[in-house]
Amino acid sequence: MALAAEITASGILMGSIFALVALGLTLIFGVMNVVNFAHGEFLMIGMYSAFLISTFLSIEPLVSLPFVAVVGFLLGIITYYLLIRYLLRGPMIAQLFGTFGLMLFLRYLVMFILGPNPRVLHQGVLIGKSVSLSWFTFDISKLAAAGFSILLFVLVSWMIERTKLGRALRATSIDAEAAGYMGIDTEKMNALAWGIGGATAGIAGGLLANFYYITPTVGMLFIMIAFATVALGGFGSIRGAFIAGLIVGLIMMVAGYYLSQIKLAFVYLAYFLVVVLRPRGLFGW
C-alpha cells in the first residue's frame, strides 16, 4: 500500500515535470502544428542559461527564472525568423529535417562553446532539500517544478482557449491565408508562438537545473518523451498534454520500478495503443 502510494506520488511528481518539459512543444507542435525536434535543445539552453546566470552573477536560481524565460523567448523568436518561417513554405517533412538540423546545431554549438562536461547547480534555496512524509520523500526542487508546471499550464491553456490572442494563434495554424484576411498578422503570431514556446522551455530548463545535471546532450533524453506526451494528449489540447504528462510519469514510475530496461517502451506503447483506439489522442481536435 505504501509502495503504491509512493510510486503514485513520484509518478505524479515526475509526470507534471514531464508535462512542464513538453509545454513549449504543446504550443509549437500541438497548437501551431510544426514539428520541433530542437525542443530538447531549447530546454538544454534554458538549463545552461539558468546555470550560467546563477553561477556567474551569483543569483538564486529561482530569481534567474525571468531572465531564463527571456533567453528562451528570444531563442524562439530568432529561430522562427531565421529558420521556421522558411520551413513553413514547404511540406511538413521540411520542418522535420530543418528542425532536426537545428537540434544538432544548437546541441553542438553549446558543446563547442562550453565543452562537453556535465555541470550541476549547487547553490539555491531549493537545491538538495526534501520534505519527508512517512511514506515518501519529496524533493523540494521537484515539487517546485511541478507547482510551476500546473501554474504555467493553467496560464497557457487559458491564453490559448479563452483569449483573442489564443484564437488568433489557432486560426493562424489552421489556415494562415484565411487568418490574414481576418487582419491577423500571421508572421507575428507564429513568431509569438515560438517565443512563448521558447520561454516556457526556458523556464522548464531553469527549474530542471535545480535537480538535474546539465550537458549539451541532455535535450535528447527528453525530446521523445515530450513528443509522445503532446501526441498522447491530442493535438491542440493543452490540458490533454498535462494529463498525458501525468500518465507518462506514472507509466515510467511503475515500469521503472519493475522493468526499468524497457520502461520507455511502455510509454511509446501506451501512446500507440491510445492513438489506435482514439486516433486524435486523448483530448485532441
Binding site: 483573442k164 484564437r167 488568433a168 489557432r170 486560426a171 489552421i174 489556415d175 491565408e177 484565411a178 487568418a179 490574414g180 484576411y181 481576418m182 487582419g183 491577423i184 498578422d185 500571421t186 508572421e187 507575428k188 491542440g236 481536435w285
Partner: protein, 234 residues
C-alpha cells in the same frame, strides 16, 4: 476611395492580370463580372495584399497599399470574403465569427454585430458550438459572409457571396448588400449572378482574360448586348 492603377499580376511567371485599373468611390457599390478564370479573384486578392503585383499600384484612401501585407491592409479597413469560404474548420462557429471581429475591440460592438449576423442567418445561431468544418456547404458560405460582417470595414470585398446558397438566400444576401450600401458602406462585389449584381451596382467592370474590357453604370452594363450574349446566354 480605392484606386487600382494598371496592375499586372503573375502566377509563377505566367501573367493573370494585364494592366487592370479600376476605382471604387466612397459609398459606391461596384461589381466586377467576368467569365471563369478571367481574373476576378486574382484582382481582389491583389487588393487585399495576398498577391503582389509585378507592376502598377493600389491606393486606398490616399495611402499606397501596393506593398502592404494582408494584415496591414485589413487593418486599414478592407475586408475580404474569400472565394472558397476558407472557414477555420476545427474552430466552432462562434470562434469563427469572433475571429471576424479580430480588428475591432469593444464588446458591445461585437455583441451587436453578432446579433445582426444571427438575425441574418439563424442557422448559425443554432450551430453555435458546431465546428465550422462540419457545416454544410451553404452554411459555410453564410459563415464566411457573417464573419466578414463582424468587422466594420470601410471597404467590403465579396467574392461570389451567393455561391452555394439556396435561392431564397441568394436574394437575401443581395438585399443585404444593397442595404449595406444604403447605410453608406463601400462595396466591391464579384458575382456570377451577373444580371442581379449589375442591376444592384452603381458601376461595373467586365474582366476578360485578365483585362478590363468594359466599364460603366451597372444598369447600362446589364443591358449591354455583349454582356447579354457572353454572360447571360441570351
Amino acid at each position: 476611395m480605392l484606386k487600382v492603377n494598371k496592375i499586372e499580376v503573375h502566377y509563377g511567371g505566367v501573367p493573370a492580370l494585364h494592366e487592370v485599373s479600376f476605382e471604387v468611390g466612397k459609398g459606391e457599390l461596384v461589381a466586377i463580372v467576368g467569365a471563369n478564370g478571367a481574373g476576378k479573384t486574382t484582382t481582389l486578392k491583389t487588393v487585399v495584399g495576398a498577391l503582389s503585383p509585378v507592376s502598377g499600384s493600389i491606393e486606398f484612401e490616399g495611402v499606397d497599399i501596393t506593398e502592404k501585407n494582408t494584415a496591414e491592409v485589413v487593418r486599414l479597413g478592407i475586408t475580404y470574403v474569400p472565394e472558397g469560404r476558407l472557414i477555420f474548420g476545427p474552430l466552432t462557429v462562434e470562434e469563427n465569427l469572433l475571429l471576424g471581429a479580430f480588428t475591432t475591440s469593444t464588446k458591445e460592438e461585437i455583441e451587436e454585430r453578432m446579433d445582426y449576423v444571427h438575425h441574418l442567418f439563424p442557422i448559425l445561431k443554432e450551430r453555435y458550438k458546431q465546428r465550422g468544418g462540419t457545416l454544410s456547404g451553404g452554411e459555410q458560405q453564410m459563415l464566411a459572409i457573417g464573419r466578414a460582417l463582424m468587422s466594420s470595414p470601410k471597404l467590403l470585398m465579396l467574392d461570389e457571396p451567393s455561391l452555394g446558397l439556396m435561392p431564397t438566400l441568394v436574394t437575401e444576401v443581395l438585399e443585404v448588400v444593397a442595404r449595406l450600401k444604403e447605410k453608406g458602406n463601400t462595396i466591391l462585389l464579384v458575382e456570377q449572378n451577373v444580371r442581379e449584381a449589375l442591376e444592384l451596382a452603381d458601376r461595373g467592370y467586365v474582366l476578360e482574360t485578365g483585362r478590363v474590357v468594359l466599364e460603366g453604370e451597372g444598369k447600362d452594363l446589364s443591358r449591354d448586348p455583349h454582356i447579354k450574349k457572353a454572360y447571360l446566354g441570351l
